[in-house]
Amino acid sequence: MIRDRGLGSKLWRTAVWAVTLLFILNLLGVIATVVTNSLATRWLGTWLPVDFTTRWYFAAWREFQLTEVLLVTFQVVFLVTLLSGLIGITTAYALARRDFAGKRFVVLVFLLPLLVPPLTYGIPLATLLYQVGLGGSFWGVVIINLVPSIPFVVLVMIPFIEQIDPRVEAAARVFGAGTGSLFTRILLPLLLPGMLAALLLVLVRTIAMFELTFLVAGPTSQTLVVSLYYAVFASGVRASQSIDAMAVVYMVTTLFWLILALRFVNPTQIVARAKQSQPAH
């Protein structure tokens, strides 16, 4: 490790940490504003509200029909996670284990949905879904959310599967394991950490996925983030504390899964695909 000791580098170091601290303070300030406002009786023109209350949570729960919204959110999110897991992991297995003509093309096809802005494919897909009659329905929301999730699972899982030595599978075959028991007894246990990581990341991303869900969600198929958007959009109608109470409910939902996800994954994986294991030096 190299440590520079000049005055210039000291100043530079302080400046870098000051900027980091400023960013984190502002970030926490944003979150604290939402939480404080959701607990406030009245908060106008002062540092802190006049008094604190929890009644906005009950009000928000009734006003925004949060029981139904949460139920829909979890159904959508779990279904998307399950389907993209099933489809994505089988695809990733084939891509990790076989080299075939056109493989580069297939990988490109899986990369594209992650590189194109969601609205670019979301608007034509939503138009199609409305024409088939799935627009505004529960299944429409699930289908449109699968578009970024399946490629994400595929790209995260490929390096995980490549890490498993194919000789382990060959050995199992030699000892007479069928495809079924090969999968349940060999692959599943070895892949479990990677699968958990990939699926939890899909889960967190789907809860926060706004643009695509927004395009096809109808009154009965809104997820939490879409309801929150509509509430903020029409913010003159309802008390701001009530909207912030809903925002806190949303925050708790995402953070619960985030904390669970962080037990299994490195935070950098949430933005990038899993890094391939570094070769030993």
Binding site: N26, P117, L146, A208, P267, A272, P279
Partner: protein, 304 residues
Amino acid sequence: MSDMVLQGAAQRPARPALKTRLAAKGFDGTTLLVLPGLIAVLALFIYPFLYGVVDSLTPQAGAWYENYRRFFSDPFLYNTISATLWLALPVTLLNLLLAVPIAFRVRLMRRQRLLTTLLVLPITLGTVLVAEGLLNFLGPQGWFNRTLILIGLLDTPLRLTNNYWGVFASLLITGFPFAFLLTLSYVTGIDPAIEQAAATLGASAWRRFTRIFLPLLVPGLSVTFCLAFVQAFAVFPSAVLLGAPAGATRVISIAAYSAAFEEYNHSLGSAIAIIMGAVQLLVVLAVLGLRGFFYRGSASGTKG
């Protein structure tokens, strides 16, 4: 004639079965497992995308290029491109400029987990929640303006919501962690032995950065720039909630959405969506093209 049939029959045992030949090229039962995913992406991404292209070329009235003509002749529509670029490019550049030095500091830390976890927060919370929080936080009575007035930097509150700066702040908060975590994973991928070698030979910190790290980082940074730009360019909820959706922050996604779902003109909506994809692709290609001028190769030290 009969000779040729006989010859063919004689050759056949020498040729392996179709299944074996395909397996030798990598096509067997396992390869078929790629099909469910491939079919799903073809049906849900490629087909709708092509459908959108065709849809955009069959306008409700007029010639096949009517939607594109309308987009590029109506300033209310074509100005959205510059409005979006004017938001997305500065934010992405600023995010990268902040991310690089901070990633270089954090790389030396032994316990990065708390910091990285804090920085993941805005990504998981999503743009809608950040927009809602910033509306109060940056508002005229919010803590941000109050603090600045308290320490004497300001006399009257700055107007930071419902304009360009509100959207800028929200893109900074959701975009910086993304750029930072990607940059961090690239920075930590560089072998520290290379830097130590440079320091041993007497290179100063600035020289080590410009001559050692920067050339090695350029490929990673250009990818980070592209991914961060894609996110910033697609800005939608915060431009509506925190910006001036009819004015300075009328970004291209608002135009696409309102054409498709408020005017019910899905043909024009698809056209704008495709223009959006094309503009973004141009920027990404330009950045990746610039990358070609720099060093490419291993970032790990090798012995011997």
